[in-house]
Symmetry: C2
Subunit: 160 residues, 2 copies
């Protein structure tokens, strides 16, 4: 699997990955009816670096990395990852997260923080824990899940 910076020419492939996840509204606090243009403007914004994961020439995942805060908080980074639904279970998210941790270290970030991991997203919580993240905060009923109703969101963190 190759992880490389996203280019404008990747927009269609990126939307084909982030669109279904945004529409499902189960794992990200983004408007489920967000337009393709708004979603791409968010995911590939000028305040972050965006990468894609290629497997045999096909884009199977994408992630962004940015400073989580400005000023005295800009040594902590934040990432978001999405995997193509057809490529779940093949280690795409793990590979992207490992890449992001190495990238973050090489750019001087000292820690990585996930602000809003939906607590019902067991697969993600377990994956982040296996990669060294700790749950450092729990936001009670902070997410309206389309089928589970009000569920907690987790803050996850690790020094790099």
């Amino acid at each position: 699997m190759l992880i490389r910076p996203a280019m404008n020419a990747d927009e269609k492939a990126i939307w084909s990955i982030i669109g279904p996840t945004i529409r499902a509204g189960e794992t990200y606090a983004l408007p489920p009816d967000m337009s393709e243009a708004d979603a791409l403007a968010y995911w590939m914004g000028s305040d972050r670096e965006t990468f894609v994961a290629e497997d045999e020439g096909r884009i199977v995942g994408t992630y962004y990395i940015r400073a989580n805060q400005a000023g005295g908080g800009d040594h902590v980074c934040n990432c978001g990852y999405m995997t193509d639904l057809g490529a779940i279970g093949r280690g795409v998210a793990r590979t992207m997260c490992e890449h992001s941790m190495a990238h973050a270290r090489s750019h001087g970030f000292q820690s990585m923080q996930f602000n809003f991991v939906v607590s019902t997203n067991d697969r993600a919580v377990r994956l982040w824990q296996s990669l060294g993240f700790k749950i450092v905060g729990r936001l009670p009923h902070a997410f309206r899940h389309p089928t589970h109703g009000l569920v907690d969101a987790l803050v996850m963190f690790q020094p790099l």
Copy 2:
């Protein structure tokens, strides 16, 4: 004390309050060298409502309120408060926070979250606790304090 929506004509007064706090870099994760224009664009952004606190016709504090997340997280709001350094200790922040909680309830928010309370800001931590906020997360060494060095930041939360 009167709390009212901020108007463009308040910009000079608002900058006179938020400028020194941003420049000090001790309590907010904003760039200490942020320009006046950028600071006002942030504090009075279109994604939030901004208020000022008036005491005998003089603006002594300002706060904003916004949804803390989009989509399934937009029932939780987030606020930032700043008090004029010459008016510290007169209950300005408490009055603004109480106003924000009432405003949030009336606009349908179900909870209020502070994402990044610098742990050395004892006055703020005690005030938010006295107003019902609980510490639900601790971000280790997430803030570079200009004199204390790396200190924790707190996530504080309360149902409304």
